[in-house]
């Protein structure tokens, strides 16, 4: 009898081990692939950043420690690009969040042609960034045949070459145009997932429309707004296409991803130095991500 009990326990353990593997196995291919394509190259970048490597010379790469990093504080181009990155990301995320919320509130009502207007409104998100950039640059912002300047001219204002004069603002406008629909979709889902009985209760309790929005709808929307901010920030911090197309290499609107590409594989060939820029971007992203992930873990709390 005693031996039978032991073998049962062993059998239970064996089955649980097998069950554990069965649970983990399906994740492994995706996990290994992701590690291979993202994590391992990142380690290489880390290594490059400690060298003075240039691929256009035959000199072997020399290990120079943190020299690349210490030089950053005096590197005007780097600091400019970093500052542009911050401004661009913050303005684009906030702008699209505000416009997106407004659009969602307008759309969350019954009116004639609701589905049609929603379809029109989500379209900018589907448009290829390169196309969006060209379209705005050549047909909206352009001083001679851009529609915006045509409108300005008819009300008596002289043409402005927006993309040259206000490069950062031009890029941000296009980013907001593309990302507001995304925010709108997320917030619309939040609005439509609201519990109607809670809103009715508030109305019975005599709350005004604005009071209901502020005290009931807004708190319910918060996770959706946070999610939108997070996802928007992930994508907008690494904008490249719009900058390349709208302003090219113009200084006022060159963010770090653009500058890094320019200094390394885009012909600059300074792999060591550019890698140290990359690491800085990654660190900044990790900080944002940590804040963001805390928000996300809040979202995941109640569905274990």
């Amino acid at each position: 009898m005693a031996t039978a009990v032991i073998s049962h326990e062993e059998e239970v353990r064996r089955l649980q081990r097998r069950e554990g593997w069965r649970r983990r196995l399906p994740i492994l291919p995706a996990l290994l692939f992701t590690i291979a394509v993202t994590q391992i190259p990142f380690l290489f970048t880390l290594f490059y950043s400690l060298t003075d490597w240039r691929i256009d010379t035959v000199d072997p790469r020399q290990f120079i420690g943190v020299e690349n990093y210490t030089s950053l504080s005096g590197d005007k181009f780097f600091l400019d690009a970093a500052w542009v990155t911050v401004k661009m990301t913050v303005m684009a995320v906030l702008g699209s969040l505000i416009v997106g919320t407004g659009l969602a509130l307008l759309l969350d009502r019954k009116f004639f042609g609701q589905g049609f207007i929603r379809t029109l409104l989500i379209t900018p998100f589907l448009v290829m960034p390169v196309v969006a950039g060209f379209m705005w640059k050549t047909q909206m912002f352009n001083a001679t045949f851009g529609v915006i300047n045509w409108v300005l001219n008819t009300v008596g204002i002289d043409s402005i070459e927006f993309a040259t004069k206000y490069p950062l603002a031009s890029v941000v406008v296009v980013l907001i145009w593309q990302w507001s629909p995304f925010m709108m979709l997320i917030i619309l889902a939040g609005l439509q997932g609201q519990d109607a009985s809670v809103l009715e209760a508030a109305r019975v309790d005599g709350a005004t429309s604005w009071g209901t929005f502020r005290q009931i709808t807004f708190p319910q929307l918060r996770p959706f707004l946070e999610l939108g901010t997070l996802l928007g920030a992930i994508y907008l911090i690494q904008v490249y296409d719009h900058i390349e197309v709208i302003v090219g290499g113009q200084p006022g609107a060159k963010n770090l991803p653009f500058y890094i590409a320019q200094r390394s594989i885009g012909g600059g060939n300074r792999f060591g130095l550019a890698s140290s820029y990359s690491i800085i971007v990654v660190i900044a992203s990790i900080i944002i991500a940590n804040i963001g992930l805390r928000v996300l873990s809040g979202l995941l709390e109640d569905d274990s």
């Binding site: 009990v5 049962h8 326990e9 239970v12 089955l15 649980q16």
Partner: protein, 359 residues
Amino acid sequence: MAEVRYEAASRLYPGSEIPAVNELNLDIADGELLVLVGPSGSGKSTALRMLAGLETVTSGSIHINDVDVTLKPPQDRDIAMVFQNYALYPSMTVAENMGFALKQAKVSKEQRAEQVREAARILDLEPYLDRKPKNLSGGQRQRVAMGRAIVRSPQVFLMDEPLSNLDAKLRVQTRTELVDLQDRLDTTMVYVTHDQVEAMTMGHRVAVLKDGILQQVASPRELYRRPKNRFVAGFIGSPAMNLLDVDRADGQFALAGTTIELTDEMRAAAAAVDGTTFGVGVRPEHLKFTSSGSGIAGEVSVVEALGSESFLHVKVQHEGREQVLVVHEAGDTELVRGDNVTIVVDGPVHVFSPDGESV
């Protein structure tokens, strides 16, 4: 056709100190309808899911027909289960839902259709065989879930609160149908519920669980008449038994100042137990109002007049504190809130030792 036996079966969740089911010993006879009942967290569902093979038995064993199934996966146990939310496959029609297990067992198409039709006939589901679950009412979904179970003629039916999503009236009706069905099929059934009325009306025997530990297993009548401990006494019966803490004085127990008559047996049994604070319980129907004057004096605080019977909540002074006794009266009552009444005990009294066991 099967007997089921739990032998010291336990389920300990990883990271938890206390087993969800603790050394459960239970024999279920062939053709028996056994109800597992208990409050939430009592381990009743876990015990059922251990039998189903959905929970690992961490120690002990479970046998179906003397075959040790402890380590067998669910599909090798020849059981069928009805879930609380029915768990119908939403993408399949009623007929496909009911025939799914047979299809897995590679039963021929013709035979499958035949068996599904037969089950549908028993459950009045024939008109709905081509519908998807989402186009059925709650009661119909429940019957489909039943149908999915009976189609396979399993050795044991497992029911996990199958009626709790139905409205009150339908629940009572389905309850009777289910008992009738089990009787006709004569298949062993293990039925989990938190509703003691369901347990009492359906079970051949009822097993009461609390905190993963089996408290008592007996026929509904036995459970009602002779609860083994204070928990069972309080859990079984609606409204619940009046249970008060009573200090023993001179070997006697007094309820609100009135000494209770005990049988000789009980007096002797109580005398053998040490301690002072005992539990004394009297069912509402064993309390009567009297006009003769001697008895427990109290004041009516709540009147629940149900027409055919009435329950009166009476405030009494017991050992210096205000307590409420519930008194059952057949038929309608003329008493109203605020009336002063006198109560006498007219029926069996239950005495529980300081550690809660019946004496």
